[in-house]
Symmetry: C2
Subunit: 188 residues, 2 copies
């Protein structure tokens, strides 16, 4: 009989992050995560396929959020304006996640396989953004290039944001990175 | 006793590509690749750790080539000029590889895991480029953004190049993509 475990998913995430930070991702077992959370392995597997899914959920909320932000974004005269609107919208997702993102980033930075997963996630975000722009009638290669530009801005701004122990506004860092990308490419 | 097998690596690559195209990457075994090439499995494993390495060599020639092109690139007033010089240089690598690249691309496009490896390779290329720009004294975030812009240009131009059955000049497609990226970000 499954008992109702209040916030089991959140407790498992918290326990996993603690253990990853203490021992490194590779060393930690699902049994240890469940034990630290005061839950069973069976409960763990009701929420996650494996320990990697704690860091990279199957239905990635960031990718889903991007797709939804694209649907909400107002009509814009240029694809990069749509991309900027989507990044502003996505910035809200991170508003209260600075401490969490710093911990997650430290775990990922320490493991080659997880760094690769992060690269794959960013590529998926770029594909999602490019597909959304095409659906709005933006032709290629402008759609792909505007999407890649947006993800470059996100990647660079997010890296600066998690590197800083002080929680700054990620949206400001993204606006700044977009300005700098514009200045960099203007010299091409 | 190892016999000397003339161009064993090239024959194994050719056999692997044929079999991947015929049956799909997942279905093909190393024994089949070696058999098609008229070589032993042992010979295969002298050249490749596994069948994936036929498509993604450990010391990726493109990543190595980028690093070398960065060393050769002349002093430039702006990081994007260095990136453009590196892309021109890298374009030479692809000059006689259109048919090969189209076959490789078809195999990769058909397999989710291989598409992920390709995303990881592009991220590694961006890191290599950013590191080279930093080594030339370009500060961050300009170094990261110029590198990401260069890889976005490469990715979009390369995708157009392999999509076209006619072999065009990849360097021209990269110049065109760079112009379009500049136009896209100018509206930010």
């Amino acid at each position: 009989m499954a008992r109702w475990e209040p916030n089991a998913r959140g407790r498992l995430e918290e326990a996993a992050f603690e253990l990853f930070a203490e021992h490194g991702f590779e060393q930690v077992t699902v049994a240890e995560i469940a034990g630290r959370a005061g839950l069973t392995e069976r409960t763990f597997y009701r929420h996650f396929a494996d320990k990697r899914e704690v860091l990279f959920p199957d239905a990635n909320p960031l990718v889903t959020g991007l797709a939804e932000a694209l649907e909400r974004a107002p009509e814009a005269p240029h694809p990069i304006a749509t991309v900027a609107a989507v990044l502003e919208d996505a910035g809200g997702f991170f508003a209260d996640r600075h401490a969490y993102s710093r911990r997650r980033n430290a775990v990922i930075a320490a493991n080659a396989e997880l760094r690769e997963r992060e690269a794959v996630k960013l590529a998926l975000m770029a594909d999602t953004l490019a597909g959304g722009l095409r659906a709005r009638g933006v032709p290629d290669p402008a759609a792909s290039l505007a999407a890649e530009a947006g993800i470059a801005v996100f990647k660079v701004a997010h890296a600066r944001w998690v590197a800083d122990p002080e929680p700054r506004d990620l949206r400001e860092l993204m606006r700044d990175a977009m300005r700098q990308l514009k200045a960099v490419t203007a010299e091409a």
